[in-house]
Amino acid sequence: DAGITQSPRYKITETGRQVTLMCHQTWSHSYMFWYRQDLGHGLRLIYYSAAADITDKGEVPDGYVVSRSKTENFPLTLESATRSQTSVYFCASSDRNTIYFGEGSWLTVV
């Protein structure tokens, strides 16, 4: 029943490189989100989008860029990866008030 797919699931990249994490949902939910999960911090919202072409910053947006040209896609780009961006990234979508998560993308920046 995974209506949200993320890719890649695992990625190792070097400091300074650009990385894009892809997210695709099949539910036609208006809202989509990117969270990062770090030990001791739980989940923190990076960016969210209320609809195509509408995006807003969350708690920790610095160093990230998002776009939403189509309702079903919400890619997250790290323009110049840093070690502090090593994390697990979860994409999610929402049917009004309940959020459903993808399976996560494990990113390591070396």
Partner: protein, 114 residues
């Protein structure tokens, strides 16, 4: 600042013990409340949610939670845990009226010993 606090970072229980995980939030006004579970290596799954009505909410797998507005709390309970309940549990809050700015607590890791 808006926040969600989970009191316990790590809870260790034996099978059949009762569970209560605390969650407090600092938002005023109308809120929607959630508990999510994350099994090892997996994504977050919704356990239960509260929007309005009966403050005692029943979710999947025998879990329940009680919303106490005066205490800004939404504690998760299960009368008898199983080894398969070993996971991380996250409380989450967003403000009502369709606001999708969901904030999560730091999580509580539950280990159930067989």
């Amino acid at each position: 600042a808006q926040s969600v606090s989970q009191h316990n970072h790590h809870v260790i229980l034996s099978e059949a013990a009762s569970l209560e995980l605390g969650c407090n939030y600092s938002y005023g006004g109308t809120v929607n409340l959630f508990w999510y579970v994350q099994y090892p290596g997996q994504h977050l799954q919704l356990l239960l949610k509260y929007f309005s009505g009966d403050p005692l909410v029943k979710g999947i797998k025998g879990f329940e939670a009680e919303f106490i507005k005066s205490k800004f709390s939404f504690n998760l309970r299960k009368p008898s845990v199983q080894w398969s309940d070993t996971a991380e549990y996250f409380c989450a809050v967003n403000r009502g009226a369709g606001n999708n700015d969901m904030r999560f607590g730091a999580g509580t890791r539950l280990t159930v010993k067989p």
